[in-house]
Symmetry: C2
Subunit: 194 residues, 2 copies
């Protein structure tokens, strides 16, 4: 299949809707609406100018001294509710993935990265509705948890969890998880590894 | 923190933008734009009418006879590119999670569910930009892979992968993964379990 035309439908600052015109397998002309944080979604770019830079970085931190997985309980405005997840943030202009990871982990939890264990490429959050991509950065961290560096718009609690705690969290009704944290926490509960 | 007001900004059929007005930790009035597939995002509903029904179901299938993980390579219109992921689909009205899983696995891969191993609650795809939630359904499946039941708008290839294949996929440059499949495939490559 092939995209024939991309049209920007709205003009807001942080998030917009776009429409892709395409031909399906039978040759029928169709359109598909999606959301993008970028004024130039990936589909608008030619092969050479396509960047592999993700929109955001998500940090999966394991604490060196406490020997526990670090999670945050954070108010998410689009849900109007608290969600359990991992520290994360949009990449600043000209920032490298590791720099965003260091900055956001400090800002949201007060902790410092000791070592990067592994890192994903830019992977897509929900490619039926958005071109948003993230990079997952698995790290060993150190320090005392603190919310002193939180921004005003952030409402965060830092949690340290063992694999037994992980199992209990998964069994607690009404806790909201994001996709990444549910998969990581359920693997951690079953195997003790991240 | 608390949401004070929700405003619908666009009026398209499948996806819309909304704006939440809220007070941050310092009492400053702010707004946050997000995307939703629903005409009544979760944040608009009161506690009683909030449903725990996810927007979509994602199936993580392990093939009983081939002893391999089933993935699909699928054209994703918002990316204008092929992506490696798992079979998935929006829930039809009045459908239960298991019914969506059975229907979508058949439609996208031709395979049949033998047994459901485990299932996540509704978990959020990217809660900074959307209230979209999914349920992950891990299954044992059986049958011969086929794209005979694909819809016209679908362009899918069915893949059967061993944990060695998983490692090779992860090392191949320029392959696009979604978040869920990258985490599951990288755990499968390292441990042989899903």
């Amino acid at each position: 299949m092939k995209i024939l035309e991309v049209k920007q439908l709205t003009d807001f600052k942080h998030l917009n809707l776009f429409s892709n015109k395409y031909k399906d397998r039978t040759g029928t002309l169709k359109s598909w609406i999606f959301a993008s944080r970028s004024k130039e979604p990936q589909v608008m770019l030619n092969e050479e100018s396509k960047s592999c830079k993700p929109s955001a970085v998500v940090i999966i931190p394991f604490h060196q001294e406490y020997k526990k997985l670090v999670m945050i309980k954070e108010f998410r405005v689009p849900l109007g509710a608290y969600q359990y997840g991992f520290p994360a943030g949009l990449m600043d202009r000209d920032e490298e993935i590791e720099e965003t990871a260091v900055r956001e982990l400090k800002e949201e939890t007060g902790l410092e990265i000791v070592k990067i264990i592994r890192r994903s490429p830019a992977i897509y959050s929900s490619s039926g509705m958005t071109d948003e991509s993230i990079s997952l950065v698995y790290v060993i961290c150190s320090g005392k948890p603190s919310i002193e560096w939180n921004e005003d718009s952030e409402d965060i609690e830092v949690l340290m969890i063992s694999s037994e705690d992980a199992q209990k969290l998964l069994e607690t009704p009404d806790i909201k998880f994001d996709v990444k944290s549910w998969i990581v926490v359920s693997t951690f509960a079953r195997t003790g590894i991240i």
